[in-house]
């Protein structure tokens, strides 16, 4: 084996310098880490969805596959892979085939800028949070592709509802993000996380860092109401952006079968499914980075560090996923007009107020 690697390395190094090879290999390894994470987390999230919904409805959930049914997601995935991959005869084939991949690429690309720990961030971009927001637009395009390509009226209506909803809710989400960016003075997610070092009282939800110069010291507690509003807006908006209940009008089972992915089966459906769950974690972890300290420990220096950072980050992200599942199985669905009214008449005015208030306070106290 070593000889093969040696030969391969020498062959490649004839064309590229060794530092370029190291760069390419590290880039590939770095890129693979979130992919592995998404796949493992997908299994946990499927089981979580089944078990939590069962507990909320006073059922047991899957119990037969493995101890307490914990192998059920693996069985489900094996079943999904064996299913026939159908394509409707009237479908627009290239678009129909492209859609699930665009959806998954959009969700996966967002993970590139997420700081999992001080030791791991796929790409430390100066415009990290802006990049994550922009990758959400790929998901919108994929929904349109699926809705159009399927040649099915339910898919079509689902896609149009979904896109109208997502592009509307991008505005309050961006306003909530800007509130934090104004205070932090940076769009780099690693910097935003670093600012919140030193325990729970330095989190942006509670006004931001108290010990650093330029953040108003302990007087920045006046930001707490602004941040609470921004956090609430971000959380509600992120539910809508991932098409989760109570904002699931695009896939409302009682009206539209399954919305934009009605016609998809097998592996293509699995990609949509994985993309939705990856997005759920991504929006949750962005909320935790912006407001709840990202990978920073809530206890200050205790239990903090590169390895514990992963633990806190994943824990915070998963608690948002838990909240999303909890809400899904507790609340009924909004009507389409209610969804739009909440966005344009409630969230956006509050979001604009939060940005204005944060700007004024930031200038006043810094």
């Amino acid at each position: 084996m070593t000889a093969i690697y040696q030969a391969l390395y020498e062959f490649i190094s004839r064309f590229f310098s060794p530092s370029i090879i190291t760069l390419v290999v590290t880039t590939l390894v770095y890129a693979a880490i979130p992919l592995v994470f998404i796949l493992v987390y997908g299994l946990v999230a499927i089981l979580g969805e089944m078990k939590i919904s069962a507990w909320l409805q006073d059922r047991l959930g899957p119990m037969r596959t493995g101890p307490k049914g914990i192998l059920q997601p693996i069985a489900d995935i094996l079943k999904l892979l064996q299913k026939e991959d159908t394509t409707p005869r009237a479908a627009d084939r290239p678009l129909y085939r492209l859609a699930p991949w665009v959806a998954f690429i959009g969700s996966y690309a967002a993970f590139a800028a997420l700081p999992f720990s001080v030791a791991y961030i796929g790409a430390r971009l100066n415009t990290g949070i802006f990049y994550i927001l922009s990758m959400g637009s790929l998901v919108v395009v994929s929904i349109l592709l699926a809705g159009w390509g399927s040649d099915n009226k339910y898919s079509m209506i689902g896609a149009m509802r979904s896109v109208a909803q997502i592009i509307s809710y991008e505005i309050p989400v961006a306003l909530a993000v800007i509130t934090v960016v104004v205070i932090a003075g940076s769009m780099d997610l690693q910097t935003i996380t670093d600012l919140q070092a030193g325990g729970i009282n330095n989190w942006f939800l509670l006004g931001g860092p108290k010990h650093l110069e330029g953040f108003g010291g302990s007087t920045n507690f006046v930001l707490v109401p602004v941040m609470l509003v921004a956090f609430a807006i971000y959380f509600i908006g992120s539910l809508a952006e991932t098409n989760r209940v109570p904002f699931d009008v695009p896939e409302a089972e009682s009206e539209l079968v399954a919305g934009y992915h009605t016609e998809y089966s097998g592996m293509k459906f699995a990609l949509f499914f994985l993309s939705e769950y990856a997005s759920m974690f991504a929006v949750g972890s962005v909320a935790s980075i912006l407001f709840l300290g990202g990978w920073q420990s809530p206890l200050g220096d205790t239990m903090n560090g590169p390895a514990m950072g992963f633990l806190w980050f994943i824990l915070k992200g998963l608690s948002f996923v838990f909240a999303q599942i909890w809400i899904r199985w507790t609340l009924p669905r909004f009507r389409v007009d209610q969804v739009m009214r909440i966005c344009w008449k409630v969230l956006i005015p509050f979001g604009l107020t939060a940005v204005a208030a944060a700007s004024v306070i930031a200038v006043a106290i810094q």
């Binding site: 590229f16 760069l23 390419v24 919108v140 349109l144």
Partner: protein, 207 residues
């Protein structure tokens, strides 16, 4: 700098190929979706030119906004009202004149522009430049990834923001007024019909 070249040609090929589909496809929906690859390719070129903020704005505004609106418009008119929309060749001579004028304009930029050499670009301190990597490997101890982070360009967001609110404040405000006018106009046009309809359908004796 072979990696830089490879990525440049990849993006350039994607732009040209998808733009050709936009121009020549008779299926208007395929043409619209093919814009996705054009916009992404252009964003990729911006990244290679060290314009990080511009690249992300490109994706956010063109893919997330304009492309979605174009497709949305096509979908609403096409499938819902059963009008078969096809692109066709029309008014060839004006199109030819405009295209030639644009070509001359772009050509003059190409000939007369002050182009930066590769090693003058901000990215020449970047991972794409192997000399810079080797230099940095001596300067900074650590994994290539740490060197990459250390070397990361300063970013253009702050410079752009400062320029927009100082030197280019008037154009910036004018553009926002134009957008506001367009927004109000769109709302007026959209509400007009429902308003008239409501007036027309109002039962006798009400009000």
């Amino acid at each position: 700098m072979p990696l830089f070249d490879i990525f440049f040609y990849l993006f350039a090929a994607a732009i040209v190929a998808s733009a050709a589909v936009v121009c020549f496809s008779r299926n208007i929906v395929h043409a619209a979706f093919s814009l996705l690859f054009t916009f992404f390719g252009i964003a990729g070129i911006y990244v290679l030119l060290a314009a990080d903020f511009l690249a992300i704005s490109q994706v956010l505004i063109y893919v997330g906004g304009i492309l979605v609106l174009i497709v949305f418009g096509v979908m609403l008119t096409n499938r819902v009202t059963n009008i078969d929309l096809r692109s066709a060749l029309k008014s060839r001579i004006p199109a030819l004149v405009i295209c030639l004028a644009l070509l001359c304009l772009l050509g003059s930029f190409l000939v007369e522009g002050h182009w930066m050499k590769f090693d003058q670009m901000p990215w020449s301190r970047s991972p794409w430049n192997k000399d810079a990597i080797e230099q940095a490997t001596h300067a900074v101890q650590g994994t290539p990834r740490e060197i990459l982070d250390h070397q990361g360009s300063q970013g253009t967001a702050m410079a752009l923001g400062t320029l927009l609110l100082t030197d280019y404040l008037l154009p910036f405000e004018l553009v926002s007024v134009v957008l506001l006018v367009a927004l109000i106009g769109a709302a007026m046009i959209a509400r007009k019909e429902t308003f008239l309809l409501a007036k027309h359908n109002r039962p006798e004796g009400s009000r």
